[in-house]
Protein backbone atom coordinates (compact mmCIF):
# COMPACT_ATOMS: atom_id res chain seq x y z
CA UNK A 1 0.00 0.00 0.00
CA UNK A 2 2.75 2.46 0.91
CA UNK A 3 4.56 1.49 -2.27
CA UNK A 4 1.51 2.28 -4.36
CA UNK A 5 1.19 5.56 -2.52
CA UNK A 6 4.82 6.39 -3.14
CA UNK A 7 4.52 5.50 -6.79
CA UNK A 8 1.59 7.84 -7.20
CA UNK A 9 3.37 10.68 -5.43
CA UNK A 10 6.33 11.14 -7.76
CA UNK A 11 6.06 14.81 -8.42
CA UNK A 12 7.84 16.88 -10.99
CA UNK A 13 6.39 19.93 -9.36
CA UNK A 14 3.85 20.09 -6.62
CA UNK A 15 0.84 20.74 -8.79
CA UNK A 16 -1.52 18.28 -7.15
CA UNK A 17 -2.31 19.30 -3.60
CA UNK A 18 -5.40 18.66 -1.56
CA UNK A 19 -7.74 21.61 -1.20
CA UNK A 20 -6.11 23.69 -3.93
CA UNK A 21 -6.86 24.23 -7.58
CA UNK A 22 -4.11 24.44 -10.16
CA UNK A 23 -5.79 25.36 -13.43
CA UNK A 24 -2.69 27.13 -14.72
CA UNK A 25 -0.76 23.87 -14.94
CA UNK A 26 -3.24 22.34 -17.35
CA UNK A 27 -3.27 22.89 -21.09
CA UNK A 28 -5.35 25.63 -22.60
CA UNK A 29 -8.94 24.32 -22.69
CA UNK A 30 -9.47 25.27 -26.35
CA UNK A 31 -6.32 23.39 -27.32
CA UNK A 32 -7.52 20.36 -25.31
CA UNK A 33 -10.92 20.66 -27.00
CA UNK A 34 -9.33 20.56 -30.46
CA UNK A 35 -7.28 17.53 -29.39
CA UNK A 36 -10.37 15.72 -28.09
CA UNK A 37 -12.26 16.72 -31.23
CA UNK A 38 -9.56 15.15 -33.41
CA UNK A 39 -9.69 11.94 -31.33
CA UNK A 40 -13.47 11.87 -31.79
CA UNK A 41 -13.14 12.61 -35.51
CA UNK A 42 -10.62 9.76 -35.90
CA UNK A 43 -13.09 7.43 -34.20
CA UNK A 44 -15.84 8.49 -36.63
CA UNK A 45 -13.62 8.11 -39.70
CA UNK A 46 -11.96 4.82 -38.72
CA UNK A 47 -14.86 3.06 -36.96
CA UNK A 48 -18.01 4.90 -37.93
CA UNK A 49 -18.87 5.43 -34.28
CA UNK A 50 -17.94 7.84 -31.52
CA UNK A 51 -16.72 7.68 -27.95
CA UNK A 52 -18.40 6.22 -24.89
CA UNK A 53 -17.63 5.29 -21.34
CA UNK A 54 -20.69 4.21 -19.38
CA UNK A 55 -21.31 1.17 -21.59
CA UNK A 56 -18.16 -0.49 -20.23
CA UNK A 57 -19.49 -0.16 -16.67
CA UNK A 58 -22.79 -1.73 -17.74
CA UNK A 59 -21.02 -4.73 -19.25
CA UNK A 60 -19.33 -5.34 -15.91
CA UNK A 61 -22.61 -5.02 -13.97
CA UNK A 62 -24.36 -7.40 -16.38
CA UNK A 63 -21.56 -9.98 -16.03
CA UNK A 64 -21.67 -9.82 -12.21
CA UNK A 65 -25.47 -10.18 -12.09
CA UNK A 66 -25.28 -13.04 -14.57
CA UNK A 67 -22.64 -14.80 -12.45
CA UNK A 68 -24.77 -14.68 -9.29
CA UNK A 69 -28.24 -15.05 -10.78
CA UNK A 70 -28.17 -16.32 -14.37
CA UNK A 71 -31.93 -17.00 -14.49
CA UNK A 72 -32.67 -13.52 -13.25
CA UNK A 73 -30.34 -11.96 -15.83
CA UNK A 74 -31.85 -14.08 -18.61
CA UNK A 75 -35.27 -12.55 -17.99
CA UNK A 76 -34.06 -8.97 -18.05
CA UNK A 77 -33.76 -7.24 -21.43
CA UNK A 78 -31.32 -4.68 -20.06
CA UNK A 79 -28.74 -7.25 -18.93
CA UNK A 80 -29.33 -9.36 -22.01
CA UNK A 81 -28.37 -6.41 -24.19
CA UNK A 82 -24.87 -6.50 -22.70
CA UNK A 83 -24.54 -10.26 -22.31
CA UNK A 84 -25.48 -11.08 -25.87
CA UNK A 85 -26.10 -14.68 -26.93
CA UNK A 86 -23.23 -16.04 -24.85
CA UNK A 87 -20.96 -16.92 -27.79
CA UNK A 88 -18.69 -13.90 -27.30
CA UNK A 89 -17.39 -12.61 -23.98
CA UNK A 90 -19.17 -9.38 -22.95
CA UNK A 91 -15.70 -7.92 -22.27
CA UNK A 92 -14.70 -8.40 -25.91
CA UNK A 93 -16.43 -5.14 -26.53
CA UNK A 94 -15.42 -1.91 -28.23
CA UNK A 95 -16.29 0.30 -25.27
CA UNK A 96 -14.52 -1.94 -22.75
CA UNK A 97 -11.25 -1.66 -24.70
CA UNK A 98 -11.80 2.06 -25.15
CA UNK A 99 -12.17 2.61 -21.40
CA UNK A 100 -9.03 0.55 -20.65
CA UNK A 101 -7.26 2.95 -23.00
CA UNK A 102 -8.75 5.95 -21.18
CA UNK A 103 -7.24 4.71 -17.92
CA UNK A 104 -3.81 4.38 -19.51
CA UNK A 105 -3.98 7.66 -21.43
CA UNK A 106 -4.98 9.52 -18.26
CA UNK A 107 -2.19 7.88 -16.32
CA UNK A 108 0.43 8.80 -18.95
CA UNK A 109 -0.66 12.42 -19.04
CA UNK A 110 -0.78 12.64 -15.24
CA UNK A 111 2.65 11.01 -14.94
CA UNK A 112 4.22 13.45 -17.40
CA UNK A 113 2.79 16.40 -15.47
CA UNK A 114 3.50 14.96 -12.02
CA UNK A 115 -0.18 14.96 -11.12
CA UNK A 116 -0.56 11.29 -10.21
CA UNK A 117 -1.16 11.40 -6.51
CA UNK A 118 -3.33 9.49 -4.04
CA UNK A 119 -5.71 12.12 -2.76
CA UNK A 120 -9.34 13.12 -2.36
CA UNK A 121 -10.68 15.96 -4.51
CA UNK A 122 -12.76 18.31 -2.37
CA UNK A 123 -13.20 21.83 -1.09
CA UNK A 124 -11.81 22.89 2.31
CA UNK A 125 -15.18 22.85 4.10
CA UNK A 126 -16.07 19.16 3.95
CA UNK A 127 -14.66 16.06 5.66
CA UNK A 128 -13.11 13.19 3.70
CA UNK A 129 -15.85 10.77 4.78
CA UNK A 130 -18.63 13.07 3.64
CA UNK A 131 -16.89 13.74 0.33
CA UNK A 132 -16.58 10.01 -0.37
CA UNK A 133 -20.25 9.51 0.49
CA UNK A 134 -21.19 12.31 -1.90
CA UNK A 135 -18.97 10.78 -4.58
CA UNK A 136 -20.82 7.48 -4.19
CA UNK A 137 -24.26 9.13 -4.31
CA UNK A 138 -23.28 11.21 -7.34
CA UNK A 139 -21.90 8.14 -9.06
CA UNK A 140 -25.13 6.22 -8.42
CA UNK A 141 -27.22 9.00 -9.96
CA UNK A 142 -24.85 9.14 -12.90
CA UNK A 143 -25.09 5.39 -13.46
CA UNK A 144 -28.87 5.47 -13.34
CA UNK A 145 -29.16 8.59 -15.53
CA UNK A 146 -26.63 7.39 -18.10
CA UNK A 147 -28.48 4.11 -18.56
CA UNK A 148 -31.81 5.86 -18.87
CA UNK A 149 -30.44 8.22 -21.52
CA UNK A 150 -28.50 5.38 -23.19
CA UNK A 151 -25.25 7.28 -22.91
CA UNK A 152 -23.20 9.71 -20.90
CA UNK A 153 -21.31 12.91 -21.52
CA UNK A 154 -19.06 11.10 -24.02
CA UNK A 155 -21.61 8.99 -25.88
CA UNK A 156 -24.58 11.31 -25.95
CA UNK A 157 -22.80 14.63 -25.34
CA UNK A 158 -19.63 14.59 -27.45
CA UNK A 159 -20.61 11.97 -30.01
CA UNK A 160 -24.29 12.87 -30.35
CA UNK A 161 -23.52 16.57 -30.05
CA UNK A 162 -21.04 16.64 -32.91
CA UNK A 163 -23.36 14.57 -35.13
CA UNK A 164 -26.11 17.12 -34.31
CA UNK A 165 -28.24 14.34 -32.76
CA UNK A 166 -31.59 15.56 -31.43
CA UNK A 167 -31.35 13.33 -28.34
CA UNK A 168 -27.70 14.25 -27.79
CA UNK A 169 -28.44 17.97 -27.65
CA UNK A 170 -31.54 17.52 -25.47
CA UNK A 171 -29.45 15.35 -23.15
CA UNK A 172 -26.56 17.83 -22.96
CA UNK A 173 -28.76 20.82 -22.19
CA UNK A 174 -30.41 18.84 -19.39
CA UNK A 175 -27.03 17.79 -17.92
CA UNK A 176 -26.01 21.44 -17.57
CA UNK A 177 -29.48 22.39 -16.30
CA UNK A 178 -29.46 19.62 -13.67
CA UNK A 179 -25.93 20.43 -12.52
CA UNK A 180 -26.48 24.20 -12.28
CA UNK A 181 -29.78 23.71 -10.44
CA UNK A 182 -28.11 21.45 -7.86
CA UNK A 183 -24.80 23.33 -7.50
CA UNK A 184 -26.07 25.69 -4.79
CA UNK A 185 -27.10 22.82 -2.49
CA UNK A 186 -23.71 21.11 -2.58
CA UNK A 187 -21.54 24.26 -2.55
CA UNK A 188 -19.97 23.33 0.81
CA UNK A 189 -18.42 20.34 -0.91
CA UNK A 190 -16.51 22.33 -3.52
CA UNK A 191 -16.04 25.94 -2.46
Amino acid sequence: MTNIKKWFSHHLEDNAREGELFPKYYWNPYLVGIGLGIVLLSSFVIMGRGLGASGALSSMVAVVVNAFAPDHAAHNNFYQGYLGDGTVSPFKDWLVFLVIGVFIGGFISGAIAGRNKMMIEKGPRISNKKRLLFAFIGGSLMGFGAKMARGCTSGQGLTGGSMLSVGGWAFMLMVFAGAYATAYFVRRQWT
Binding site: L41, V65, G105, G110, M119, A135, M142, L164, W190
Partner: protein, 200 residues
Protein backbone atom coordinates in the same frame (compact mmCIF):
# COMPACT_ATOMS: atom_id res chain seq x y z
CA UNK B 1 -16.54 7.21 -50.31
CA UNK B 2 -13.84 5.31 -48.45
CA UNK B 3 -14.76 5.96 -44.82
CA UNK B 4 -15.79 4.94 -42.15
CA UNK B 5 -13.05 2.35 -42.80
CA UNK B 6 -14.57 -0.31 -40.52
CA UNK B 7 -17.93 -0.14 -42.29
CA UNK B 8 -16.21 -0.82 -45.61
CA UNK B 9 -14.58 -3.93 -44.16
CA UNK B 10 -10.95 -2.78 -44.23
CA UNK B 11 -10.26 -4.67 -41.01
CA UNK B 12 -11.99 -7.16 -38.71
CA UNK B 13 -13.47 -7.04 -35.20
CA UNK B 14 -10.23 -8.05 -33.47
CA UNK B 15 -8.38 -5.12 -35.03
CA UNK B 16 -11.24 -2.82 -34.08
CA UNK B 17 -10.58 -3.62 -30.40
CA UNK B 18 -6.94 -2.56 -30.75
CA UNK B 19 -8.13 0.65 -32.40
CA UNK B 20 -10.59 1.20 -29.52
CA UNK B 21 -7.69 0.86 -27.10
CA UNK B 22 -5.54 3.41 -28.98
CA UNK B 23 -8.42 5.88 -29.35
CA UNK B 24 -9.09 5.42 -25.62
CA UNK B 25 -5.49 6.37 -24.81
CA UNK B 26 -5.90 9.59 -26.81
CA UNK B 27 -9.24 10.28 -25.13
CA UNK B 28 -7.83 9.75 -21.62
CA UNK B 29 -4.69 11.74 -22.39
CA UNK B 30 -6.58 14.85 -23.47
CA UNK B 31 -9.10 14.57 -20.62
CA UNK B 32 -6.23 14.61 -18.12
CA UNK B 33 -4.43 17.43 -19.99
CA UNK B 34 -7.57 19.50 -19.63
CA UNK B 35 -7.73 18.96 -15.88
CA UNK B 36 -10.66 16.55 -16.02
CA UNK B 37 -9.04 14.11 -13.59
CA UNK B 38 -9.80 16.65 -10.90
CA UNK B 39 -13.33 16.66 -9.50
CA UNK B 40 -12.82 20.12 -8.06
CA UNK B 41 -11.87 21.58 -11.40
CA UNK B 42 -14.83 19.88 -13.09
CA UNK B 43 -17.24 21.14 -10.42
CA UNK B 44 -15.84 24.69 -10.73
CA UNK B 45 -17.81 24.88 -13.99
CA UNK B 46 -21.04 25.01 -12.00
CA UNK B 47 -19.83 27.85 -9.76
CA UNK B 48 -18.66 29.93 -12.76
CA UNK B 49 -15.08 30.07 -11.44
CA UNK B 50 -13.50 27.90 -14.15
CA UNK B 51 -15.58 27.14 -17.24
CA UNK B 52 -13.23 24.64 -18.84
CA UNK B 53 -15.84 21.86 -18.97
CA UNK B 54 -17.92 23.97 -21.31
CA UNK B 55 -14.93 25.24 -23.31
CA UNK B 56 -13.38 21.81 -23.85
CA UNK B 57 -16.69 20.07 -24.63
CA UNK B 58 -17.87 22.60 -27.15
CA UNK B 59 -14.47 23.04 -28.81
CA UNK B 60 -14.36 19.25 -29.22
CA UNK B 61 -17.92 19.12 -30.57
CA UNK B 62 -17.31 21.96 -33.04
CA UNK B 63 -13.98 20.45 -34.18
CA UNK B 64 -15.45 17.00 -34.85
CA UNK B 65 -18.63 18.49 -36.35
CA UNK B 66 -16.74 20.67 -38.86
CA UNK B 67 -14.37 17.80 -39.65
CA UNK B 68 -17.21 15.40 -40.41
CA UNK B 69 -19.06 17.97 -42.48
CA UNK B 70 -15.91 18.66 -44.52
CA UNK B 71 -15.08 14.97 -45.00
CA UNK B 72 -18.63 14.31 -46.13
CA UNK B 73 -18.57 17.31 -48.47
CA UNK B 74 -15.40 16.15 -50.26
CA UNK B 75 -16.92 12.68 -50.52
CA UNK B 76 -14.51 10.97 -48.13
CA UNK B 77 -16.95 9.88 -45.40
CA UNK B 78 -20.45 8.49 -45.82
CA UNK B 79 -22.27 10.29 -43.00
CA UNK B 80 -25.20 7.85 -43.14
CA UNK B 81 -22.87 5.02 -42.04
CA UNK B 82 -21.78 6.83 -38.88
CA UNK B 83 -23.60 5.57 -35.81
CA UNK B 84 -24.73 7.80 -32.98
CA UNK B 85 -27.35 7.32 -30.27
CA UNK B 86 -30.96 6.91 -31.28
CA UNK B 87 -33.26 9.52 -29.82
CA UNK B 88 -35.79 8.57 -27.16
CA UNK B 89 -36.71 12.09 -26.18
CA UNK B 90 -38.33 11.51 -22.76
CA UNK B 91 -35.55 9.23 -21.51
CA UNK B 92 -32.82 11.48 -22.92
CA UNK B 93 -34.24 14.49 -21.09
CA UNK B 94 -34.86 12.83 -17.72
CA UNK B 95 -31.64 10.78 -17.91
CA UNK B 96 -29.64 13.91 -18.71
CA UNK B 97 -31.18 15.75 -15.77
CA UNK B 98 -30.36 12.91 -13.34
CA UNK B 99 -26.83 12.61 -14.72
CA UNK B 100 -26.31 16.38 -14.35
CA UNK B 101 -27.39 16.25 -10.71
CA UNK B 102 -25.03 13.31 -10.18
CA UNK B 103 -22.25 15.23 -11.94
CA UNK B 104 -22.21 18.14 -9.49
CA UNK B 105 -22.76 15.94 -6.42
CA UNK B 106 -20.15 13.36 -7.39
CA UNK B 107 -17.73 15.60 -9.25
CA UNK B 108 -17.27 13.45 -12.34
CA UNK B 109 -18.93 11.84 -15.30
CA UNK B 110 -18.10 8.26 -16.36
CA UNK B 111 -15.15 9.07 -18.66
CA UNK B 112 -13.56 11.59 -16.34
CA UNK B 113 -13.93 9.24 -13.35
CA UNK B 114 -11.73 6.72 -15.19
CA UNK B 115 -9.04 9.40 -15.55
CA UNK B 116 -9.43 10.44 -11.91
CA UNK B 117 -8.91 6.85 -10.77
CA UNK B 118 -5.84 6.31 -12.92
CA UNK B 119 -4.31 9.50 -11.50
CA UNK B 120 -4.96 8.33 -7.93
CA UNK B 121 -8.14 10.15 -6.89
CA UNK B 122 -9.84 8.12 -4.15
CA UNK B 123 -13.14 9.97 -4.56
CA UNK B 124 -13.08 8.82 -8.20
CA UNK B 125 -13.03 5.20 -7.01
CA UNK B 126 -16.08 5.82 -4.80
CA UNK B 127 -17.78 7.57 -7.70
CA UNK B 128 -17.23 4.56 -9.96
CA UNK B 129 -18.49 2.20 -7.24
CA UNK B 130 -21.59 4.38 -7.06
CA UNK B 131 -21.82 4.10 -10.84
CA UNK B 132 -21.93 0.30 -10.61
CA UNK B 133 -24.61 0.54 -7.97
CA UNK B 134 -26.69 3.01 -10.01
CA UNK B 135 -26.51 0.81 -13.11
CA UNK B 136 -27.48 -2.21 -11.01
CA UNK B 137 -30.51 -0.34 -9.62
CA UNK B 138 -31.46 0.70 -13.15
CA UNK B 139 -31.04 -2.87 -14.37
CA UNK B 140 -33.25 -4.21 -11.59
CA UNK B 141 -35.88 -1.53 -12.20
CA UNK B 142 -35.68 -1.97 -15.97
CA UNK B 143 -38.82 -4.14 -16.36
CA UNK B 144 -40.79 -1.31 -14.71
CA UNK B 145 -39.04 1.46 -16.63
CA UNK B 146 -39.03 -0.24 -20.02
CA UNK B 147 -42.15 1.53 -21.30
CA UNK B 148 -40.95 4.96 -20.29
CA UNK B 149 -37.41 4.43 -21.56
CA UNK B 150 -38.71 3.42 -24.98
CA UNK B 151 -41.27 6.20 -25.27
CA UNK B 152 -41.00 9.07 -27.77
CA UNK B 153 -38.76 6.96 -29.94
CA UNK B 154 -37.55 9.01 -32.92
CA UNK B 155 -34.77 6.79 -34.26
CA UNK B 156 -31.32 8.04 -35.25
CA UNK B 157 -32.26 11.58 -36.06
CA UNK B 158 -30.29 14.82 -36.26
CA UNK B 159 -31.42 18.41 -35.87
CA UNK B 160 -31.34 19.25 -39.63
CA UNK B 161 -33.64 16.25 -40.31
CA UNK B 162 -35.98 17.16 -37.46
CA UNK B 163 -36.40 20.76 -38.55
CA UNK B 164 -36.01 19.96 -42.25
CA UNK B 165 -33.30 22.55 -42.78
CA UNK B 166 -29.86 22.57 -44.37
CA UNK B 167 -27.09 20.72 -42.47
CA UNK B 168 -24.57 23.49 -43.15
CA UNK B 169 -26.95 26.09 -41.77
CA UNK B 170 -27.34 24.24 -38.45
CA UNK B 171 -23.56 23.83 -38.35
CA UNK B 172 -23.15 27.57 -38.80
CA UNK B 173 -25.64 28.31 -35.98
CA UNK B 174 -23.84 25.91 -33.63
CA UNK B 175 -20.50 27.60 -34.38
CA UNK B 176 -22.04 31.03 -33.65
CA UNK B 177 -23.54 29.71 -30.39
CA UNK B 178 -20.20 28.23 -29.39
CA UNK B 179 -18.37 31.52 -30.02
CA UNK B 180 -21.02 33.41 -28.03
CA UNK B 181 -20.73 30.81 -25.25
CA UNK B 182 -16.91 31.04 -25.16
CA UNK B 183 -17.09 34.84 -24.96
CA UNK B 184 -19.61 34.63 -22.12
CA UNK B 185 -17.48 32.01 -20.32
CA UNK B 186 -14.33 34.18 -20.52
CA UNK B 187 -16.29 37.17 -19.25
CA UNK B 188 -17.88 35.12 -16.44
CA UNK B 189 -14.51 33.82 -15.24
CA UNK B 190 -13.05 37.34 -15.12
CA UNK B 191 -16.13 38.58 -13.28
CA UNK B 192 -15.89 35.80 -10.67
CA UNK B 193 -12.14 36.39 -10.21
CA UNK B 194 -12.74 40.10 -9.63
CA UNK B 195 -15.56 39.36 -7.21
CA UNK B 196 -13.36 36.95 -5.28
CA UNK B 197 -10.50 39.46 -5.18
CA UNK B 198 -12.73 42.21 -3.82
CA UNK B 199 -14.19 39.87 -1.19
CA UNK B 200 -10.85 38.36 -0.20
Amino acid sequence: MTAPFFKFGYFNDEVSLIIAFIIGIGFGFFLERGGFGSGRLLAAQFYFTDMRVFKVMFTAIVTAMIGMFYFSWIGFVDLSLVYYGTTYLAADILGGLILGIGFVIGGYCPGTSAVSISTGRIDGIFYALGGFFGIFVFGEAYPMLENFVNSYSMGMINIPQLLDINYGFVLFIVILLAIAGFTAAEWGERFMAKKKASEG
